[in-house]
Symmetry: C2
């Protein structure tokens, strides 16, 4: 279950994540280029800002281990969580060029990140078309997540929303090789989940009770267990996509 990452910085060609079956294989020259693209590594503690809304960040990040989330806020503090980032996810692409970031990213657990220079992106596109396509593929994937999320918040009932989100998170955890068996620990509080789904904490909690009583899943403390995935998918009105290998930058 743990996705702990060895503390000392590891050269890209020896990156243990590359070995995971979820990620497509990269050529030696590509890995070498990624190495030159890489500036360093960053560790963030739970609750730490990886970057803030409105600030300039000359970096891109790949999550090596841990969980983080992207969010936006309104001037009066209302917060909307946009998406979560697990290992293998690329963060910060939303602003391709310069200018202040329009969203923030915060760590949920201890997070270890690979840091890249945004400036070198042009060079990457020039020299490594396969990697460039990979980056675009990851952006398209993120966009699909946002589409799904928008459908959830806009048109699903609160019960459907929660079912969808929990299923979505379990799939992503499994796909990033984290999941053991049918249950795992969610690192976020109910407040995070409510902020993700556009609902209040109280309403989230009460709806969760109702979902629990249906028996297809349970979420007690941090522990999420999917007892009957088929049923959960049916409640969520989700449509499962077959998993694909994805690029790893």
């Amino acid at each position: 279950m743990t996705d702990a990452f060895p503390p000392p910085s590891v050269p890209c060609h020896a990156c243990p994540l590359r070995l995971l079956p979820v990620f497509s294989k990269a050529g030696d020259d590509e890995i070498e280029f990624i190495q030159s693209f890489k500036i360093g590594e960053l560790n963030a503690k739970p609750g730490a800002a990886i970057y803030l809304e409105g600030t300039d960040s000359p970096h891109l990040f790949t999550v090596l281990s841990g969980w983080a989330f992207r969010y936006k806020t309104l001037p009066d503090g209302r917060r909307q969580i946009l998406n979560y980032a697990l290992r293998g996810d690329l963060i910060g692409l939303q602003n391709t060029l310069s200018g202040p970031m329009e969203h923030g990213v915060e760590a949920l657990t201890d997070v270890r990140l690979c840091v890249f220079s945004r400036d070198k992106l042009v060079g990457l596109f020039a020299a490594q078309p396969v990697l460039a396509l990979g980056i675009t593929w990851l952006a398209a994937r993120e966009e699909r997540f946002l589409d799904d999320h928008l459908l959830s918040i806009g048109r699903r009932t609160s019960e459907e929303r929660i079912a969808y989100l929990l299923w979505h998170l379990s799939v992503r955890a499994r796909e990033s090789g984290l999941d053991i068996g049918n249950g795992f620990d969610l690192p976020m509080r109910q407040q995070h989940l409510a902020d993700t789904l556009g609902m209040s904490l109280v309403s989230f909690n009460k709806t969760l009770q109702r979902l629990r009583s249906q028996g297809c899943m349970s979420l007690n403390g941090r522990r999420l267990v999917i007892h009957d995935e088929k049923a959960l998918i049916a409640v969520a009105k989700a449509d499962p996509r077959r998993p694909e290998r994805r690029p790893f930058i």
Copy 2:
């Protein structure tokens, strides 16, 4: 105000849209490549499906003129409009590789589209890094729109939501060179706007009345007029971004 596009297919180097100041200039070889990337053109009547959810589409599209929208639906028919597409917008990138489209696209007005082959995307990335970066830039832009939209539906009040959407649409219309003065015709019905904002038609209408009475904008029939943009932005709790040139594929 009109963005009518000359009916006969036009070679890319003579594409009148390229001349618009919103779009960044492209080199001759790039335009030539785009020409080879292009399969043909497509006209769609209002209400026509450009592609449907769940079907395979081997194409990418650039809007040459008119309005369209991307949407997703739930099995029982509830619809969520994800975003609108105006001229210069690239559609269909959300699924980079093969597999069924996870959203649909429908024309709101007469729409003229430039059709590209998805297969040739790999070749484009290999041969034209600047165009490739442009595509990624457009994807990132779309993602920012989705982020904003998610914040709207999740955390803005219905009044704020409508104000934000109308402001957003007016900015995009202006940026694509469509807008004349302070008013223009929105091609969508109230039902579309309600489906965009995750609210019911009735509630949309009633909230719109309240907004109208504040005087900073008016929307009668199709005609949207922004009387006081500053005030509208304040109501929407939006933060204006300075316009940037964007790539045109």
